[in-house]
């Protein structure tokens, strides 16, 4: 990321996304998981600023999604809704088919946590159906966790348990860790 400053923020290096955006967005995500929210917030906003300056919808969608993840982890759902509505709109308007389930699931999760439980669960179910239809694995297990958390909020404990079991299996099947 240190090398992707100034003019180099405008280079793609043959990739679909601008690395200057992606590196900052991923860093924001990782720092959120560690609870380093203020540091991550700075990188997340910088990712959005660069993506907007580049006028690149794919990079911008990604930047919004990862800053939203940081806010969701911190428990600040108010700011997150706007970011995710923007990410969903970008993924749909620009036909980023592979990423529509991820943005839809993230927004559904935030809706559920904001008191719009039924709407959130519907969006999460829609996202999971889309994952299966498209054969997309990216972020599937965490989206199943999010649906389970939404079921908990709706006091649908059995459904939540099924999701939790499935998410553990999916996460382990994807590779890096097994028991």
């Amino acid at each position: 990321m240190e090398s992707l400053q100034g003019e180099r923020t405008r280079e793609r290096f043959g990739l679909a996304l601008f690395p200057a955006v992606l590196s900052r967005a991923y860093l924001a995500h990782a720092l959120a998981e560690q609870g380093k929210f203020e540091e991550g917030d700075g990188h997340g906003h910088e990712a959005i600023r660069i993506a907007e300056a580049l006028d690149h919808p794919f990079s911008l969608m990604w930047a919004c999604l990862e800053l939203a993840h940081l806010n969701t982890t911190r428990g600040e759902l108010g700011q997150t809704t706007r970011l995710l509505e923007r990410a969903v709109a970008l993924s749909r308007d620009w036909s980023m088919t592979t990423y529509i389930p991820a943005t839809t699931a993230a927004l559904g999760h935030v809706y559920a946590g904001s008191g719009r439980t039924g709407e959130g669960i519907s969006m999460l179910q829609e996202a999971l159906n889309a994952y299966e239809a498209a054969g997309v694995g990216y972020n599937l297990s965490i989206s199943v966790v999010r649906l389970g958390e939404a079921y908990l909020l709706a006091h649908r404990f059995e459904d939540a348990h099924i999701c939790a079991d499935r998410a553990v299996t999916l996460a382990r099947e994807r590779g890096e860790r097994s028991q």
Partner: protein
């Protein structure tokens, strides 16, 4: 690493579902929370670690173990405060208030 992170969140959800009133299974919940805690500690996932303490504390309060509950909830509250996770801190404080 992403799969391990997602697995940790999934284990925490298993703990939450096992600890709920309608189908409470304390031993299973503790086992899942402990597994999530171990993974979260290994990966440095402090917010999830705090959630595990909150989940354990809440379950212990509800199952009549106030001393153990207080320890877990105090740990969760301290972590949320340090990370400035205000809405989660309010939830932990509300559980401590229930103990009193």
């Amino acid at each position: 690493v992403v799969s391990a992170v997602n697995e940790a969140w999934a284990l925490h959800l298993l703990g939450e579902t096992a600890s709920r009133e309608n189908s409470r299974d304390v031993a299973a919940a503790e086992s899942h929370f402990n597994a999530a805690t171990a993974l979260a500690s290994e990966l440095g996932m402090l917010p999830l670690l705090a959630h595990c303490h909150l989940g354990l504390g809440t379950m212990r309060r509800r199952t009549g173990k106030p001393i153990e509950a207080r320890d877990e909830l105090a740990t969760a509250a301290t972590m949320y405060r340090e990370m400035k996770m205000r809405s989660w801190l309010e939830k932990a404080d509300a559980e401590v208030h229930e103990l009193a």
